[in-house]
Assembly symmetry: C2
Homo-oligomer: 466 residues x 2
């Protein structure tokens, strides 16, 4: 029997797609990679996923697992060989259980992140993972890439929000590692090995997630700063004053805010342009008056110490959303300005200012007039340090001629400051070569040994990560 | 050259111990396992650790890494073959760096946990891992066993407090995975694989740890409850009201408090005996008056809802320490009462009451008059469910005749309630057979494949975990 016939037998004819327009499955979100699938298979249960994996193994076909296909590093689309099976998890979209007293929920991999957030909110609880693609990305993809986002400073990455996994192994066996346990020291940490492995070790089919109480009061502010060093000091002050109530600390350079001003003039910017703007958020269960007071005390203290210039505090939830909307409009404003060279880097928070100075200067030496779009999650040491062509220059030409050089300059600066070339987006296809160059050889050797141990035939998302 | 001569060449003659009284290295904390070492080697640097591992590999000798030797599952002492080398990490005890702006510190594996706490406090920061053995255990051991303790409800286990590791692999190579990064998605999560692996995959020589701001105000209370179900409801209420300010939620049954009363009559117990007593702690950066008010509001609300009976709030730091001292005296009071059968289990918090009912009833059926010493970290779903012989019966005889049966009854109840047979103490020698029986075969197969991949000769702490 052909593989296709077997797959149809497992999931039903309607769920094996071949020919026709498969762009939604074959073309990645950034439209950088377009592959060709042997077939797109859409199983409806964990057992069907396992049977599909076994059938592919028997026929020697490799598998590309796919969730919302919103990844940014080319890990979720097939190569152009026409031999890879795309295993789409979208039909595994049930919320299996919410255990409010345990502050956990168990969901299937294909649930949209937003659906997970909403299911938790429906029980008066918070699932705090939050990122721009939340309406399209799936929780399985979030876990496979250890997604970050805007609340990491308080709640951690996807990894810290997951207690247990259900995984289909490369052999097509089901590992039921779903667990509502906050403490479980029974052997090696398989959970965290699968989290962030981008589908190269097995397929996450479900997860037990950690929930948090909903905060009662959210306070948001924007503030301007003259120096990035002041932002680091301001962050330290906010951590000391607010403790765990600090849930967001974003930073944006002048050019990134100017791009929003230029391309979205209808969005009101409450503060004038400044070298740096910080977006600060507090979430608290205090009485609203106490919370507001503490937040304003912090801003007053930061002003007294000369760390911040102007500041605007959101007077309403609506106003707070507008502030976040400014921050979240930067990626789109960049696109409207023209393609740029993107980086998703992290360095220790204390070294952020030195890193930005070093990278800015080295880039300006190499490409006079170059425009860094520098913004991101300062509270996590994570910047999206993107590089826009000099004003008036062709973006396409800049990308095609300078991308390798710009990457080298930025990543050299990252490594010199003890950083990572992929903070929250993963490795995929995009950074695989870079990783092989820059990661410790001892670590690479261990990673390859683990890949060999869990996927000896190399059929799970081959060519990605290692 | 003999291995011993090579080792002396690497670390110096004084640091290779052979013959004489090696009980400190050969006998475990609970005095359950006494082995015999071929030699005890005490390297003074990471490079020396790596050289020792290479020398042992060349001579085919297996290695037992040892920190404070305070583990409870027999993972840190040699077997009785006289062929294993104990690699003692105590001389790697430098604090390499504290980066206050990044809220991180880098320490060597042999630092005492208490020294790590004190070094952080010296910079006005908090390293929140806290457990009874903190004056004797080392941070390397804490990480190798993914230690838990009393503040996990807020700050997580050792795993959640570690950003990066330095590890000597089974080949004797040094992996420098020290990192002050909160976001780093560059490949498989090797860090979390070594954390909790109990020295069976490699040797942790240093770690970069996450620090937190010091809380300004700590509030502590004891409260009595008639039912364990009420404790779960009270925990939910405390989480909703206090959010991240809830830093401790311990529960103790009547018998455990009675044991403290009997063996430490000098310790004042502010509340009368009750079916259950909860120890509750809030840590906050609010103004002291606001924090105290919120804490008392919570207790008042819990009383109104009929969840708690009596309550006592600590009026001073001294008073708060006395409350914790009561809780921490339970293990010693047990010993004074006579040996008992210990368990370190977890189940989802929501299932704790049903688990305790089921285990209590099954034990009473099997051993009429049996006395469960039931206490632990309810906020993490983790109980030390220990079992004392019936009043007047010989503890030694109870242990020798009934241990296997009692373990079976307790672990059957744990599994039936979706729990773990080792919440925070690990597997070691003690629970290796139990793990092989009770862990998912798919998980065991993956664990063995990983062990084989990273330590193909099986020389790192053999016979432990897998």
């Amino acid at each position: 029997m052909t593989l296709e016939a077997e797959l149809r037998g497992i999931v039903g004819t309607a769920q094996v797609l071949q020919g026709g327009d498969l762009a939604a499955y074959e073309l990645d979100w950034r439209k950088r990679w377009r592959g060709r699938a042997r077939a797109v298979v859409r199983p409806g249960s964990t057992e069907e996923v396992a049977a599909v994996v076994r059938a592919c193994a028997a026929h020697g076909a490799s598998i590309v697992p796919q969730g919302g296909n919103t990844g940014l590093v080319g890990a979720s689309v097939p190569d152009d060989s026409g031999t890879q099976v795309v295993l789409h998890l979208g039909r595994l979209n049930r919320v299996r259980e919410i255990d409010a007293a345990n502050l956990t929920m168990t969901v299937e991999a294909g649930c949209l992140l937003q659906a997970v957030q909403e299911a938790a909110a429906g029980k008066g609880l918070l699932f705090p993972l939050s990122l721009a693609a939340e309406g399209s990305c799936t929780i399985g993809g979030n876990l496979a890439t250890n997604a970050g986002g805007t609340q990491v400073v308080r709640y951690g990455n996807a990894r810290e929000l997951c207690l247990g996994l259900e995984v289909v192994t490369a052999d097509g066996e089901v590992w039921n590692g779903l667990s509502g346990l906050r403490k479980d020291n029974t052997g090696y940490d398989l959970r965290d090995l699968f989290i962030g492995s981008e589908g190269t070790l097995g397929i996450i089919t479900a997860a037990t997630l950690k929930l948090h109480p909903q905060p009662g009061t959210v306070s948001t502010a924007l503030a301007t700063l003259d120096w990035l060093d002041a932002a680091v000091d301001f962050l330290g002050l906010a951590q000391a004053q607010l403790g765990a109530a600090l849930t967001g600390f974003e930073v944006m350079n002048r050019f990134s805010m100017d791009l929003v001003r230029r391309h979205f003039p209808q969005l009101q910017q409450p503060l004038p342009g400044a070298a740096w703007t910080v977006l600060l958020e507090q979430s608290s269960n205090d009485r609203p008056h106490d919370a507001a007071q503490r937040f304003e005390d912090l801003l007053a203290l930061a002003f007294e110490r000369g760390l911040i210039g102007d500041a605007a505090v959101a007077a309403s939830l609506e106003h707070s959303k507008t502030m976040w909307h400014l921050r979240e409009s930067i990626p789109l404003a960049q696109s409207l300005e023209g393609l740029n060279i993107k980086h998703d880097i992290s360095v220790p928070i204390s070294r952020i200012p030195a890193f930005v100075r070093a990278a800015d200067e080295a880039l300006e030496r190499a490409v006079p007039g170059v425009r860094p779009v520098d913004f991101g999650h300062l509270g996590d040491g994570n910047l999206h340090y993107n590089v826009q062509a000099p004003e008036g220059e062709s973006a396409e030409r800049f990308l095609s001629e300078r991308e390798a050089e710009v990457n080298r300059i930025v990543y050299d600066a990252v490594m010199a400051h003890g950083g990572s070339i992929s903070a929250e987006h993963g490795i995929g296809l995009l950074k695989r070569e870079e990783l092989a160059q820059r990661k410790s050889p001892v670590a690479l050797k261990m990673m390859r040994a683990i890949k060999q141990a869990l996927d000896p035939k190399g059929r799970m998302n081959p060519g990605r990560v290692v």
